[in-house]
Symmetry: C2
Subunit: 179 residues, 2 copies
């Protein structure tokens, strides 16, 4: 019996010429896709989405398999590690990890439960609190980091030349219209 690993799906993404797979051409014709997005625009948009989905899933699975650490938790540990005093306000953490505040609260809860992070009161603002990297958290991070960075290189960075990375960074950093 095969392992039926469903991530394997992702490897077929680029092939799939459509119309194969045994589907008989139905009676109705395909709908006109609409003129709102032209081919190039749609191509770029889909490629962007697809690339992200695939890379993100590979990295997540990789980190989970090798270090039993979800990507989001790794990211929190990393952000704390590079932060001044190995600590960050919850809000700031949420921004850096690209998560909602509610999400960060729960995520830090888990890390605290595992002893990888501690909470600390904020004296400047009684509403606030810090997440602080513990020694165990640091160890855990150091164990996971090399493998993860290797994976990031393999599945993202190495697809591009230096100049392309520069271009990519510049394009992706462009500001997004507010509201």
């Amino acid at each position: 019996m095969s392992k039926d690993l469903q991530v394997a799906n992702l490897n077929q993404l680029q092939a799939a010429p459509a119309g194969l797979d045994g589907n008989s051409p139905g009676a109705t014709a395909p709908m006109d896709p609409g003129s709102e997005l032209d081919d190039l625009e749609r191509r770029a948009w889909r490629a962007f989405l697809s690339r992200h989905a695939r890379v993100a899933r590979i990295l997540e699975a990789d980190l989970l398999a090798h270090n039993d650490l979800p990507l989001a938790e790794f990211d929190v540990l990393f952000q704390l590690a590079v932060a001044d005093g190995h600590r960050l306000r919850m809000n700031e953490l949420a921004n850096r990890v690209l998560l909602s505040r509610a999400g960060i609260t729960r995520l830090v809860d888990r890390l605290v439960a595992d002893g990888l992070v501690a909470r600390a009161k904020c004296d400047v603002d009684a509403r606030g609190s810090y997440a602080v990297l513990t020694d165990r958290g640091r160890v855990r991070l150091d164990e996971a980091r090399p493998g993860h960075l290797t994976a990031v290189k393999r599945y993202f960075v190495e697809s591009f030349s230096r100049a392309e990375l520069e271009t990519l960074a510049e394009l992706m950093e462009r500001s997004i219209p507010a509201n």
Copy 2:
């Protein structure tokens, strides 16, 4: 009392110079980020992640607010609409929507419950089944599409020139190393 809309977080992402937000510089120094990823590599990678997270969340929220339709469901309706016979095998659908097969099963379940999609047996392969767009699904899609495409343009496409879109598409379409 404010609405406390947490998506607002995302608007701060580009600012956040770190060290503000009332955190006092702790006793310990920031850790060396490690030499595994240099500045440019990290910049490109983070920008890519950040861009995706922000655009995806904006589009999701937008579609949900205006059409009460999650992005994934919209995507399924759309993929079915452009498909031959307005129908697709579950597997193929999973690939196109960038979801696992399990995910697609559940998603189609929901759409069937809402009457937007129907299932059909596959005569060529008794294991398979089709998801078929219903009339209601088609109507629903047509209602949602203009707004969504406008949003895609606004928050993604219009950030780039034609040449840049071409570059972006080319870069993102590059194959990802297997395994």
